[in-house]
């Protein structure tokens, strides 16, 4: 069986492992050996950093070593990353902070330093791009890599190059990551999660069907609680349940998701690894210090979120044709509304007014714990904000004022000029 030592990168042919005895590298005797019949033939990978934000903090502050570290915002925020020490105590990402602190009262809570993480992420990205141009980042700390056809160039199969990448991240950046290697994106992503942290998991073509059969469908990326509930209703819990459905029936019941499920159930995923995938939406959200149904306070948040989204859109030269409003009620249930604009926009004023109109039509008094505003169906800014509104003759003046304020902020800083609304 094809085998690779993840420490010294020696490739060797390993016999079937004797039960109860771990394989060791014949060259350096390390137990960190990955062996698989298809190891050197697979080329689609998913790389996921281990507890990325927390690891960066621990690296930069040795005093944190061994302590539970939680990265997240404020008393009311949620955990964005927990280090493995905190995870042992039951803390996980997306958990409300108060709950995390109940489980782990001695945790060191650190506000995220996004600029630092982004800089480290760029370093990792550069290392990945040394392996292949087909790198598709999913976030700051994970990415798909397609190494198909790079064997000749590197003089080594993809598995070796990936083990080398992880070793390089450890040596040069002091960070660890896990690799999932398979024959498509779906399985690569599933694999990277099997053996965290510092994992290297392989799902070959031969065992794909066996591997999936009894696993729950909720492990599919993108199946959230709502989709899960719909699947439960149809009696679909595992991949084996899915296999019993005809493609037609799945499509009729779940639409485009149904078609995707049909193929995923068979371990098929034809999506390509795309570098520089165009951005699909821009959104910002905030969790409040305390739940509120106060229209004035919510209005302030609405404006600030609209302004943030607008700032980002302007910075990227983009605009959007659809405005999205997202609210989370006190019981964590989600409420989402969208409206299509006739003329795409990147202006905070139009974004705010559209979101505000959606808000006014909710007919739900709250209280809410989170509010988000987003722009979707993006287009270049040249195609946006081209015509005024007959029924809103003040719009042109406000848009002029916004452009002028942007200029002032560019020169004197983001706080140089604020709307009164932003102070609510």
């Amino acid at each position: 069986m094809q085998a690779l030592c993840r420490d010294c990168l020696t490739q060797f042919d390993a016999p079937e492992a004797a039960p109860g005895r771990a394989r060791r590298c014949p060259s350096c005797a390390s137990p960190r050996v990955v062996a698989h019949a298809e190891l050197f033939d697979l080329s689609i990978a998913h790389m996921d950093c281990d507890a990325f934000y927390a690891s960066v903090e621990k690296r930069d502050n040795p005093e944190l070593a061994g302590k539970p570290v939680i990265i997240g915002g404020g008393r009311r925020g949620v955990v964005s990353t927990a280090c493995y020490v905190a995870r042992i105590r039951g803390v996980h990402s997306a958990m409300p902070m108060f709950q995390a602190l109940k489980l782990c009262p001695d945790a060191v809570v650190i506000r995220p330093r996004m600029e630092v993480y982004a800089a480290v992420s760029r370093q990792i990205r550069a290392m990945m791009e040394d392996l292949t141009p087909a790198v598709e980042p999913l976030s700051l700390d994970e990415a798909f890599l397609d190494l198909t056809g790079t064997g000749k160039l590197h003089g080594a199969p993809p598995a070796v190059m990936l083990a080398r990448l992880i070793r390089r991240m450890k040596d040069e950046l002091g960070l660890t990551g896990s690799i999932g290697l398979s024959h498509n994106k779906f399985l690569a992503k599933v694999a990277s999660d099997l053996d965290k942290p510092r994992g290297f998991s392989v799902i070959g073509r031969a065992e794909t069907a066996d591997f999936l059969r009894d696993r729950p469908v909720r492990m599919i990326w993108g199946i959230g609680p709502a989709a899960q509930a719909a699947l439960d209703k149809a009696g679909i819990r595992t991949f084996a349940d899915l296999l019993r459905w005809e493609q037609r029936d799945l499509q009729a019941r779940f639409g485009t998701m149904g078609e995707r499920l049909y193929h995923l159930a068979r371990g098929q995923d034809r999506r390509r690894v795309v570098a520089n995938a165009p951005m699909k939406s821009i959104s910002n959200e905030t969790t409040f210090h305390e739940d509120t149904g106060d229209a004035d306070i919510l209005d302030g948040h609405l404006w600030r979120m609209a302004e943030k989204v607008s700032d980002r859109a302007k910075a990227k030269g983009l605009a959007g044709r659809v405005v999205v409003l997202k609210l989370k009620r006190a019981d964590h249930s989600l409420l989402s509304r969208r409206v299509a604009l006739r003329d795409a926009t990147q202006m905070a004023d139009r974004l705010y007014r559209s979101a505000r109109a959606l808000f006014d039509q909710l007919g739900d008094p709250g209280p809410y714990r989170l509010l988000g505003v987003g722009l979707a169906e993006l287009c270049p800014e040249a195609e946006a904000d081209k015509s005024g509104d007959l029924l809103d003759p003040g719009a042109a003046r406000r848009s002029g004022a916004e452009r002028a304020a942007d200029e002032i902020r560019k020169r004197f800083g983001a706080d140089a000029i604020l709307k009164g609304r932003a102070l609510r």
Partner: protein, 372 residues
């Protein structure tokens, strides 16, 4: 219930009913048409709870009675029957079936009890008047293109029909706008309409109403209350809720002081706009108008796909002007003009532009320009 009815008569009545029925709906009875037979007449009623249509047709009623059956299925069947066939409808309410027979064809359809069918509550109408079909047709046909589909401004999702002060006294006026263009159409005020409350007639109702207005000389009975509007011919009654909202004050939107006048043959203009817009790649299809002394140059410059230019002879005697519009909006307003030349009144490249037919003030259109 057992009736016999000529296929063509049945098709007309059922077609009207099935177009009111919503394609996708969650309440099964709303997919049905209520058929009631009595005397020598049969009545077909369909509703989506906002709009209701009742269509009467002559029939041989062998046994009076009523039932409800899926409107689209019945329509499909009748549509496919041969022309001139005599159709017999027999309801077996105990079995919950309606039999449709014509020649050697025989269909058996599931029914729902007539008691479950929601009949729109009748209401008091404050204003009752009658107007020729041709007048109503002009009012709605010329304004409906400007109806908004934007859900956040639901009060724009219809035509605002009201009594207004026109140039020469009171008029019956229809206005529609989506914030990018506006249409304001006037007609002589029919007798009895003076006290009509202003109502916003929903888009769907406007579409259904159109089918009642084919015959020019037909007098349409119109009834209006604060919450409902009704249009009736001797055979068909269309009742609709109106949009519960306030239509914006459109009068301040209509430019009064646009002085730069361009006159052009509307058909030539529309064809030229359509031609140059072909190369536009954007969704909004912006067309630039460049005006000089008696000369208009229409152009599109789309960096990704190409460029187009066309020159047109016009009557224009003012300063040079460059202004951009959405091609679709220009085509829509130009297509409203059918007798005289189109007259455009501009101010600046950022201000709303007004268009009318010759000097006719009874149909006025406003379009918002766009940056090009």
């Amino acid at each position: 219930m057992k009736i016999s009815i000529e296929r063509g008569t049945l098709l007309k009545a059922v077609a009207q009913a099935q177009s009111v029925v919503e394609r996708r709906n969650t309440i099964p009875i709303l997919a049905n048409v209520l058929i009631e037979a009595e005397g020598d007449q049969v009545q077909f009623r369909a509703t989506d709870l906002d709009v209701e249509v009742v269509d009467k047709a002559p029939a041989q009623v062998e046994r009076a009675g009523a039932t409800t059956v899926a409107a689209t299925t019945l329509h499909e069947i009748v549509r496919k029957l041969p022309d001139g066939a005599l159709v017999t409808l027999t309801a077996d309410n105990a079995a919950g079936r309606l039999t449709v027979e014509a020649g050697r064809s025989n269909f058996s359809l599931a029914t729902l009890p007539k008691e479950d069918f929601p009949v729109m509550a009748s209401s008091e109408y404050q204003s009752n008047f009658s107007a020729p079909a041709a007048v109503l047709r002009r009012l709605f046909d010329k304004s409906k293109f400007a109806i908004s589909t934007e859900e956040t401004r639901y009060y724009l999702n219809g035509v605002y029909m009201h009594v207004a002060d026109g140039e020469t006294g009171k008029v019956l006026r229809c206005v529609a706008t989506d914030g990018h263009r506006l249409a304001r159409i006037d007609a002589d005020l029919p007798g009895g309409a003076e006290d009509m409350p202003g109502v916003i007639v929903p888009r769907k109702t406007v579409g259904e109403l159109r089918k009642l207005l084919e015959d020019d000389d037909m007098q349409i009975a119109v009834s209006v209350s604060e919450t409902k509007v009704r249009f009736a011919t001797p055979d068909i009654t269309l009742t609709s809720k109106v949009i519960d909202g306030t239509f914006p004050d459109y009068s301040r939107v209509i430019p009064q002081n646009n002085t730069r006048r361009m006159e052009v043959d509307a058909a030539d203009f529309a064809k030229a706009v359509d031609r140059v817009a072909t190369v536009s790649s954007e969704r909004s299809r912006a067309v630039k108008m460049q005006l000089d002394q008696d000369r208009l140059v229409l152009s599109v410059n789309a960096p990704d796909s190409g460029a187009a230019e066309e020159e047109l002879a016009v009557a224009y005697d003012d300063e040079r002007l460059e202004i951009g519009f959405n091609a679709k909006y220009l085509l829509e307003i130009a297509s409203q003009v059918d007798r005289e030349n189109a007259v455009f009144m501009f101010n600046s490249s950022g201000d709303p532009t007004l268009m009318r037919e010759g000097n006719d003030q009874s149909a006025v259109y406003v379009v918002m320009p766009m940056r090009v």
